[in-house]
Amino acid sequence: MNAIGAGISIALAALGVSLSLAIVYYKTLDSITRQPDMVGTFRVLMFIGFAFIEAIALYALVVSFSIING
């Protein structure tokens, strides 16, 4: 039962994170197309967005490790 909970936790987190990252990169590419001279700003904001969203998936990973280890 422990393993099922851990699997569900990380699976749902990965689903949400992949969709969110796709949205972030999609809009970043759109913005670069609209305004190519501000690529530096967009790059910085893209990395910040990536780190925040990835952190959510890693919270779920921490939870799944805790579930596995009882």
Binding site: V44, F47, I48, F50, A51, F52, E54, A55, L58, Y59, L61, V62, F65, S66, N69
Partner: protein
């Protein structure tokens, strides 16, 4: 999970019952401090070190100047040291026979609590007792205060938590996945089948360097944002 395996103890130390054992992450952190200190020391004497230090300062200035609305150079020194320390600590996990100190929750929690306390001290220094007004954003009628203040308090207290867990989980998860790949190399039967996990380990190591840099940058960026937010954010 954060205390899954006990670290090998080099030297037992304790102060009034507080456990201050010298373990492997402690030794690695001493090494990183030594590297940072000697790098900045040699920058006084050698032109090549000065060029690299100039690169670091330019990066810190360009990356964090927008979030830190002050020209005082002490903050740039603090942020540059913090960034360099966290980056080198993260990268130490990729060096054989040494581990990343940021892969244990104690180290990241200590740094997050330090940044949190520093932000509160800056707020109290700038605004005195009115620093508590950060809990009541502008434009809210005073009747809503009993609802808004607990929410804002929780969101302010969640900041050091998320700071600590983000850095810890990134480092821990990276090493866990690498352990799984290494286990796959051992578990593969044909020698040709061992090539795939080996390529995975190599690519993962390169990705780990990237993640180390990004997480150090994010930690430092959020530290500068929280400090500037406390200094002149909501008021």
């Amino acid at each position: 999970m954060a205390s899954e395996h006990a670290h090998s103890v080099l030297m037992h130390l304790s102060l009034h019952g507080v456990n201050l054992d010298v373990t492997k992450p402690v030794v690695v952190m001493w090494g990183v401090c030594g590297v940072v200190f000697s790098f900045l020391l040699f920058a006084n004497f050698f032109q090549s070190f000065r060029r690299v230090e100039r690169l670091l300062f330019d990066f810190v200035h360009d990356a964090f100047a927008s979030s830190l609305h002050t020209k005082k150079t002490i903050w740039f020194s603090f942020l540059a040291t913090l960034f360099l320390f966290i980056f080198l600590c993260n990268v130490s996990g990729l060096i054989p026979y040494s581990e990343s100190p940021t892969g244990s929750l104690s180290v990241t929690a200590a740094m997050a609590v330090f940044v949190f306390v520093l932000a509160q001290l800056v707020g109290i220094y700038c605004h005195g007792f009115g620093h508590l007004k950060i809990l009541t954003p502008s434009g809210i009628p005073w009747l809503m205060y009993p609802f808004i203040i607990p929410l804002e308090l929780i969101s302010q207290l969640a900041r050091p938590f998320s700071l600590a867990v983000r850095l810890f989980a990134n480092m821990f998860a990276g090493h866990s996945v690498m352990l799984i790949f290494l286990g796959l190399i051992t578990a593969a039967t044909f020698p040709l089948l061992k090539l795939l996990p080996f390529a995975g380990v190599v690519l993962l190591s390169m990705f780990e360097i990237f993640v180390a840099f990004i997480q150090a940058f994010i930690f430092t960026y959020l530290a500068s944002f929280y400090i500037s937010d406390a200094a002149h954010g909501a008021h």
